[in-house]
Symmetry: C2
Subunit: 209 residues, 2 copies
Amino acid sequence: MLQNGIAKSVLNRLPLYLEYLIDLKEIEGYTGYVSATKIATDLELGEVQVRKDLAFVCKSGKPKLGYNLDALTERIKEYLGCNEPKKAIIVGLGKLGSALFGYEGFEKYGIHIVEGFDLENKEYEHIPIKKFNKENLKEFLKNESIDIGIICVPKNVAQEVCDILVEMNISAIWNFAPIRLKVPKNVLVQNENLAYSLSVISSIITNKQ
Amino acid sequence: MLQNGIAKSVLNRLPLYLEYLIDLKEIEGYTGYVSATKIATDLELGEVQVRKDLAFVCKSGKPKLGYNLDALTERIKEYLGCNEPKKAIIVGLGKLGSALFGYEGFEKYGIHIVEGFDLENKEYEHIPIKKFNKENLKEFLKNESIDIGIICVPKNVAQEVCDILVEMNISAIWNFAPIRLKVPKNVLVQNENLAYSLSVISSIITNKQ
DNA sequence: TATTTATCGGTATAAATTTATCGATAAATA
DNA sequence: TATTTATCGATAAATTTATACCGATAAATA
């Protein structure tokens, strides 16, 4: 299925390319042009696949040279929306929520986690976390323009939190609760489940022996 | 590509089915038989897809009724290796590492995180974390049989940690460092990057408006 | 007991994704 | 300037994944 004209599979690889290209410049001091051949070798992907992927966002490949590193990087950033900063909030500051709240790695992609909400009175690195209740959250979302809601609450509360976010016109939800959230079609839900990933690993090594 | 005779796409959905089936029994009190039709509706998947997926692990579907809930649950558990407990360690007890270390959700899939290692002297809920250095880690892995290594260190140390794990014959690595680890073919590496997932969300909402 | 019904599971088809092939092209080299 | 070379980008083929269709079947119902 195509997502805004780009294949899902391609979109999922774009952040990988971006990370790679940024490191290529910043860590390895690479400048000028980079070929699909090199990218493919380094990332252990097919050469043709890389070329096709890049063709989705960038039309500037030159025979014999490859792609202009800076231009390519910029085009992927643009496509991924890194240049249009987004605001996110986290609801549920348990272990995982707190880890995400403090993670600096999202900034690179233009995403700022601006606030956290929790049922209990908590603080994060001496900054008090906002108390979670329906009124509080609604009030906050009324005044701030938030793009992404990150749900890190237990599964029995997740739908309730989701409903508030939807009611306040959030664009997207990143859901860590192991539950299928019910939302209107115009709201994007991305489910993330770390236990599932680990379970897949466990399965593969179980069936290998 | 098939992974031990099962399609990758199918394997990735099995934990989802398992979670669903467990909840169906434990939370909703469901007993007896469950049909692919019901599963598909609840999980918002195609009915045929569910039937095909289940056919990979279970041959016991009955017309008009569906699958025996307990038998199906058991077969998926078996396939995912939940019945053959695995031991894992985490290297790197930063925010994310600590969150994973304390996460109870893995037990359901038969995975026990038995130890954590960090460069700094840390403790987790009053239990001291082992000091990470090459000798320490090697010594530990020599005495304990560990199946899965979880890498949560910064990217510039990740390969070094990986090499130690490989040297000590680990079966699988779950890698949270945004770097492509070099390992021999017999070692399974599963990369996980939360920033990538979030970036994809950001991209979709950017290009929608 | 005959009929209806819901669902399974096999075969066939379609869609998405990956991989292969190759002529065209721009730079590097002779 | 002619030739060689590495890479792009288009077209085609192969593979993987998802969906459609339908006869067979076991339970429920008449």
